[in-house]
Amino acid sequence: MGGVWAILQHRDGKAHSGSWEAITAAKRIAEATGDTADAVVLGSGVGDLAREAARTGVSAVRVADLPALAAYVPGPYAAALIAALEQERPRFVVFPHTYQSVDYMARVAHGYGAGVLSEVVALAAGGDGLVWTRPILEGKLQAKVRIRGDGPMVVSVQAGAFAAAERAAGAAAPIEALPAAAAASLEPERELLGVEDAATDVVDLTAAERIVAVGRGIGGPDKLPVVQELAAALGAEIAASRPVIDNGWLPRDRQIGSSGQTVAPKLYVAVGISGAIQHLVGMKGAACTVAINKDPGAPIFNVADYGIVGDLFEIVPALVKALRDGRPS
């Protein structure tokens, strides 16, 4: 048993950005274990994606190009992959930690008899083998973990943790079919009915130059005017982290993060947001980030440019006053 497989995710043959990051992670693991890294593409009509993956410095691209894999359904995707894994026996199987890949990767691990290590953000080779880092407690802490035993392992890597593999011009890796996948039973257990927008009135926050985002720390919908006043003083759009949306305090089209919008404004003011990874992936492109939070250990302070530690109900009104006082008349 040996080798590292990166499982690429795509929609209609167009790669999810996490796929290229999974390849980088697979290459890092392969480097540390003295193995080779391969890219794996499951789907139908995915030749272009396979050729693109062949230019990322992998040893080979393994492809299951089958009509039954045209649309993502976990059962057929898992069955095809398990059959291929059992034939080829790679040690590591690396997925992007996405809504689609995590939906089926544990089923793959179970079928392959592998362990699972999800949401990895870093990897280091120690004297005692590989040490993996992953966020815990909503990003407030990190855990250093070790794999036990030498059986196969399924790993997922968090968005942005590894750089996207470059697709270089020049020599391309060989592209090979995975015959075992074609022989697997690929009956879909889900009858797909459609895709819809999660929010009805979609506000486009991606165009906003300034955003004031509010988190759980606001405490309740009756307190929202505090941050709305700041947004008004800055000429900013109001947005929120997931808990605020889940509680129904603001509509879902105001959500920033992995299940909401991804923004890159010039100014992002995070008020009462602790900074769970699911939120950070949606706003890390901001040019300047301000964090206001009562907890000095909140992870948002690690990504912010400026921080004020304290009670938002004192700081935000003071900030509104400072903005208005200093405004040229």
């Binding site: 815990i136 407690l137 036990r148 889900r190 040019a287 302070f301």
Partner: protein, 265 residues
């Protein structure tokens, strides 16, 4: 309809966290514990399904030490009919592989039409335990569920699942199945005084490793493929410039920096 709901008790993420002496986990003494947010939504969804169906049974399962009985008692107060506590020192230190194996053995002792749980725990956050549970039980499964409607008299379900970038996908699944709900699928109810009083008379069955027919080497840490070596606060390197002073002073400094240094005002 008989529904199993798997719940986890987790540290209150609003609490101030400290590391234990060895740096291998957080100090649990004096730490408040709560019912995991998305698991509470899974329980609420089960209760709503039971109400819409006009009957049925909701059974809460949880694995963990003695304190977990509080979480199960809360589930009973909210409306679960009975609870099963997987309690055994042998379960300690389990990774998703070991924990899913134990949960599967417990859930499989009775026939269920539906197994619900939250999509992710707010402490370890592996996000894969319930899909391993589904694999053990040989049932279809979905992660990040935002809507469940029963069809064909409970033989199937129309499921709405969250995707990236503000989209949902909709599909139909045969039941029984394991569905992992997202926080936000509903607004969990509060326990009533009557519910709290009534919970005291409801059953919490305790089951251990041997009751579930599990060998020692497949439970807890011994049956795990992943182990935590250490936990730490993320390094604040390159982090925010923290503005000191009272609110007015910090606010004035910030406005000045946004103007002159960041040049975003």
């Amino acid at each position: 309809m008989k529904i199993a709901v798997c719940i986890k008790q987790v540290p209150d993420t609003e609490a101030r966290l400290r590391l234990n002496k060895q740096g291998t986990w957080i100090e649990e003494e004096d730490l408040p514990f709560v019912l995991n947010e998305s698991d509470e939504c899974a329980l609420e969804e089960a209760l709503q399904i039971r109400e819409r169906q006009g009957g049925g049974e909701v059974v809460a399962f949880s694995l963990g030490p003695e304190r977990v009985r509080e979480a199960l008692r809360k589930a009973l107060a909210l409306g679960a009919d009975r609870a099963v506590h997987l309690q055994d020192a042998a379960f300690t230190g389990g990774d998703p592989i070991a924990t899913a194996r134990a949960l599967a053995a417990a859930v499989a002792r009775e026939p269920f039409d539906l197994v619900l749980t939250g999509s992710q725990s707010d402490d370890l956050g592996w996000g894969v335990t319930a899909s391993l549970l589904a694999a053990h039980l040989g049932l279809p499964h979905a992660w990040l569920v935002m809507g469940i409607e029963l069809e064909d008299g409970g033989a199937a379900a129309r499921v709405v699942r969250e995707m990236e970038a503000g989209k949902n996908e909709i599909f139909r699944l045969r039941l029984p199945a394991v569905l992992e709900v997202q926080a936000g699928i509903n607004h969990p109810r509060y326990a009533s005084l009557k519910g709290i009083m009534g919970a005291k008379r409801k059953e919490i069955a305790s089951v251990g490793r041997a009751d579930l027919g599990l060998a020692e080497d497949v439970a807890g840490a011994a049956g795990s493929r992943v182990e935590i070596l250490a936990v730490e606060f993320p390094r604040a390197g390159g982090g925010a410039k923290i503005l000191e002073g009272d609110a007015a002073s910090a606010a004035a400094q910030l406005v000045e920096l946004l103007r002159s240094e960041a040049r975003v005002l």
